[in-house]
């Protein structure tokens, strides 16, 4: 049986994605919010058009009334944005509303009282799944638009920025409701502030990385290496933004922090390449929690306005510290004597290492004497390959440590500013620095005795 609502919901999905894709550049957040609220109301009506009798609310048809609270919240949010009340809804959102209304008309031909056929149940299930998806995509677009607008207004109109920021927080709550209905498992809650959320996830990452390390397969180690690189790269991005805002001296960025971060990114890249080479053609899956944390961090690190937060330097310092811990774990994993990998991968990797390294002939003779590895089954790693992995682990750790040390430029600033505030100093010089370390007053890098 052909589902008449399929083309309608598919077209609505296309419109919603189009709105989301340009929510990073669309200047009309006002229209987006008005249109979003309208679509939520329409989704609620279409959802309720599915007959509500017990025979219809079966295993496959998503149940409950997710749109009741969503509609109430969306309507209130749009009404509270009094300064946007006269804006017309985004025309694409109006298209979605039309499509939902047509879908409701179509499904209303099905009635309670007559036992539904399998085809009708399928139709109801597909419609509700589609409604949840489209509404979720559009809500995310509204959240993105309001977050961006709040960040843009923060300098020129801080009061309005705060109001839009509050709208954003409430829209994120709606997104969370829809997300929970889309997932079977619960989704992590939205914490109160961006910076708190980031710090919390960084802490979770550190705890989780320690826990997972003993059972981490190459794919999990690969994900952890990717997280290490992402944290390092984003620290660079935030540092650049901080310099643009005049909170971090250009010299500290260009001469110290960026070169160190750049080297760390290179080494994380090399480590992840090592893990890729240790994976077989039918790769094991990485630990799902590590992937979830990586994703969460990625989103949080890109939250609009994050770079403006007064505590961002402290969070960047925490990030560099945790990246160093990841590098320690990466080193441990690469030097683990029990590390095994599929024979074929080990064989090819070892051959390449021997070909490119010193003492080629000795290594080659020993390797061939022990019988080169092949096939998909896990085998221990030969000596030549172990040496290469240990070197890579050490190089990544050294680079992460250097980046962490370079991160002192962040700690210096926040420490100085805090000190200045405590001492009631006013008119602190832009890019003001603490006095240079001397014999009597050692700097933060100076060794402490006792």
């Amino acid at each position: 049986m052909t589902n008449p609502t399929t083309p309608l919901i598919t077209a609505a999905d296309d419109w919603a994605r189009s709105i989301l894709l340009d929510s990073y550049t669309n200047p009309h957040t006002d229209q987006l919010v008005q249109g979003w609220a309208q679509v939520m109301r329409s989704a609620a009506q279409t959802w309720d058009a599915v007959p509500g009798g017990p025979t219809w609310q079966s295993v496959n048809v998503p149940g409950g009334y997710p749109f009741r609270s969503v509609t109430a919240a969306a309507t209130q949010i749009a009404a509270d944005a009094t300064w946007w009340q006269h804006s017309p809804p985004d025309p694409r959102a109006a298209q979605i509303t039309n499509l939902f209304d047509h879908a409701a008309d179509s499904i209303q031909k099905l009635r309670d009282g007559v036992p539904p056929t399998d085809g009708q149940l399928q139709q109801a299930a597909e419609l509700r799944a589609g409604l949840l998806h489209v509404s979720y995509v559009l809500t995310h677009a509204a959240a993105t638009g309001t977050a961006r607008t709040a960040a843009q207004l923060s300098e020129d109109d801080p009061a309005r920025s705060e109001q839009v920021s509050m709208l954003n927080t409430r829209i994120l709550g709606v997104e969370q409701i829809l997300d929970a209905h889309l997932r079977r498992a619960p989704y992590p809650s939205v914490p109160p502030t961006q910076i708190d959320a980031l710090d919390q996830t960084l802490n979770t990452l550190a705890r989780h990385a320690y826990e997972v390390q003993s059972r981490a397969n190459p794919a999990t180690n690969l994900v952890l290496a990717d997280i290490g690189r992402d944290l390092t790269g984003n620290t660079g991005r935030l540092a650049i933004q901080s310099t643009v805002q005049g909170r971090l001296p250009v010299g500290d960025l260009q001469d110290r922090l960026l070169p160190a971060l750049g080297e760390a990114v290179q080494q994380w890249t090399a480590s992840r390449y090592t893990w890729v080479r240790l994976m077989g053609p039918r790769q094991d899956r990485p630990d799902p929690q590590s992937v979830t944390i990586g994703n969460q961090l990625r989103r949080q690190l890109r939250a609009p306005g994050l770079a403006d937060h007064p505590a961002i330097h402290a969070s960047m310092t925490i990030a560099l510290n945790i990246t160093t811990e990841l590098a320690v774990l990466n080193h441990c994993a690469l030097t683990n004597p029990d590390l095994q990998a599929p024979g074929g991968s080990v064989g090819r990797f070892t051959q390449d290492v021997i070909n490119s390294g010193p003492n080629r002939w000795n290594h080659l003779t020993n390797w061939y004497a022990s019988g080169p590895a092949a096939g998909p089954n896990p085998v221990p790693l030969p000596e030549a390959l172990r040496g290469h992995l240990a070197q890579q682990g050490q190089a990544t750790l050294d680079a992460a440590l250097t980046a962490r040390s370079a991160g002192n430029v962040l700690a210096d600033r926040s420490g100085y500013q805090t000190l200045a505030l405590h001492q009631g100093q006013s008119g602190a010089k832009p890019h003001g620095r603490p006095e240079a370390p001397s014999r009597d007053r050692p700097g933060p890098d100076a060794p402490r005795i006792g």
Binding site: S23, V137, L182, D230
Partner: protein
């Protein structure tokens, strides 16, 4: 929830393989120059595993050839691939994946990745 269809799983696999291929493309690592490319690829690398988690165990991630060596173009190809079937035919969790992909594309197009 609905059972994923074979066609949608094949589409998701193709999208995942494209992400995997993009994750292996060599990009410049000179941070002051290449930061946006590095960050885009990092995002793609995380997306690989988000997508792979929706597939059955043991499927190969190799096997797709992106139409372009450009990371953004490949990501757009992935997003287009995930429009080829109605959403309810895909496994649970695909909506979240799509939203993340659209986020990265939107940020990259807007030049706000760095």
């Amino acid at each position: 929830m609905l059972t994923p269809t074979v066609e949608a799983e094949a589409s998701l696999l193709r999208a995942t393989q494209l992400l995997w291929a993009a994750s292996l493309i060599e990009v410049g690592l000179d941070l002051p120059i290449d930061l946006s490319e590095v960050l885009l690829q990092d995002s793609i690398r995380i997306l690989v595993w988000q997508a792979a988690a929706l597939l059955p165990e043991g499927v190969p991630l190799d096997g797709a050839q992106p139409a372009s060596p450009d990371l953004l173009a490949t990501l757009e190809q992935v997003e287009a691939e995930l429009r080829t079937r109605p959403i309810w035919e895909y496994p649970g969790g695909t909506s979240q994946l799509i939203v993340q992909i659209c986020d990265v594309i939107g940020e990259t197009r807007a030049g706000t990745l760095t």
